[in-house]
Structures are given as C-alpha cells and as structure tokens.
C-alpha cells in the first residue's frame, strides 16, 4: 500500500502524548528483527495469544493498577475459559466495549471457534496477559517480555497473536 492510502488512526499523536507525559517510558527501535516463519500450515499450528489488556481469570491476584512504577507480572489465562470467568484490571484504556463483550480486546471465544473449526491447529493451554502501564522500560523488555516469551515457547506454540491494548 502507498503512504497516501493509509487510513488515519482514531486517536492522534499517541506517541508524542505518552512521551510528553511519561518521557523515557516508551521503547524506540531503529532496527528490525529477522522474521521467523511458519514451519507448517496454519491449520496445524497451535496459536498463543498475548495481550496487555489486564484481562485475568476471576479470583487471581488483581494486576497492580495503583503502583506508580507499574506491574511486571503476568497472568496465565486458560484458553478454554468463558468470558464470565474473566475480569479486567487496568486503568489506561477505555473498556466501554470490553465491559459488554470482552472479545473486543480479548477474543477468546473467536479463537476457540477458529480452533474448533480447524482453521488453526489449536490453542496453547494458556494465553498470557499483563498491563501496559510500566515505567521501567528495561525491566519490561528484559524481564517481563522475556518471561512471557519463554512461557509461550514452553507452551508449545507455533504462532502467536499479540495485542497491545
């Protein structure tokens, strides 16, 4: 697609706004990492989902939404759960849609259906969720991101869908 055909983002200047308010919290990259490629068809590939939505199973320790530096833990969300078994703990994005239908930010039912129909080969036993408010970019990149990536690899995932809320 050409530059001119790019649709506009709904909320403008997100990068500049966050940087003005929380300088140094965003991670900027100059390079691109080499891609990994699928080794088998999609219909045989096990999918994991990673989300910064703050979605978590009901009854697990709520994400620390009040901590000034952020929360560097993640929750495993069993991929067979139903929406009423999930709740959201976060303060930084609008949950007006998710409060009615959690699939708008954490499409667990749609992914279950795609696995059921054989469009994808299956789902990892758990999905992974954390919150996006993190003021220590090094800890985010070197600890939390690596921890989750290791967990995803261990879960036997062949592919991963990521959604930074």
């Amino acid at each position: 697609m050409t530059e001119t055909s790019k649709p506009n983002q709904l909320r403008l200047e997100v990068w500049n706004t966050v940087n003005e308010r929380y300088p140094g919290s965003m991670i900027s990259k100059e390079d691109f990492v080499p891609l990994s490629f699928l080794t088998k068809p999609l219909s045989e590939s096990k999918l994991s989902f990673v989300s910064t939505s703050g979605v978590q199973p009901v009854g697990t320790m709520p994400f620390d939404t009040v901590h000034p530096i952020g929360d560097y833990t993640y929750r495993e969300v069993p991929s067979n759960l139903k929406p009423h078994e999930l709740e959201i703990h976060q303060l930084k994005y609008p949950t007006v849609g998710a409060n009615q239908d959690i699939n708008v930010i954490f499409p667990i039912e749609r992914l279950q259906e795609l696995a059921q129909e054989g469009v994808i080969g299956g789902l990892t036993d758990n999905f992974y969720s954390f919150i996006g408010y993190n003021m220590d970019p090094d800890k985010l990149e070197q600890k939390l991101a690596e921890d989750i990536a290791d967990a995803v690899v261990k879960s036997g995932a062949d592919i991963a869908l990521l959604c930074p809320a």
Binding site: I88, H89, P94, T95
Partner: protein, 96 residues
C-alpha cells in the same frame, strides 16, 4: 516519567518534577486532573471522619509499626484509589 527520569529527579532534588509525576499518575496523564484527584481523595477521607465515628486505632498502630515501609507506601497508593472509587466520581477508563 520513566524510572530513569524519576531516579534522576530524586538525585537532583527536583521535587517539581516528582510532584508533576505523581499528578500525572493520578490524573491518567493530566496534571491538573491529578491534582484534583489528590484533593478528592482527601475530601473523601475527611467526610468519613466528620462525625468522629469509632475507628480501629489499634489496627492502625499495629500496621504502622509492624509493616515494612514499602508495603505502607504501596498501601498509600491503594488508599488513594480506594477512596476515589468510594467517592463515586471515577475519572479513569478501566477498573482497579
């Protein structure tokens, strides 16, 4: 402000920067809103004590004495948001 900025501000005794940060945190990125939020949580606390109800001062003393300062600091942040939620005037997007 990210952690390196905050540490730098503390090292340089730059309280203006630190206050700005606290307000940004409480105001979801809006300093003025954050300032108002701080007032709101104190007003809520004040309202609860107007009629001098009986409170568990033993619990308070025990907590202050026995808990580590980090937990108390964390509790302070929790209390802020807890009181705001109680006040019924919730400006934040999501849920605690």
């Amino acid at each position: 402000m990210s952690l390196p900025y905050l540490k730098d501000a503390i090292k340089n005794g730059d309280n203006e920067k630190l206050i700005r940060y606290v307000r940004l945190h409480f105001g979801d990125g809006n300093e003025e809103a954050g300032s108002k939020e701080i007032n709101k949580s104190w007003i809520e606390a004040l309202k609860l004590l107007l009629d001098s109800p009986e409170t568990d001062r033993e619990f308070i003393f025990e907590t202050l004495e026995n808990k580590d300062p980090e937990t108390l600091a964390h509790l302070y942040f929790h209390l802020h948001f807890h009181l705001l939620k109680r006040s019924g005037e919730w400006i934040h997007d999501g849920n605690l």
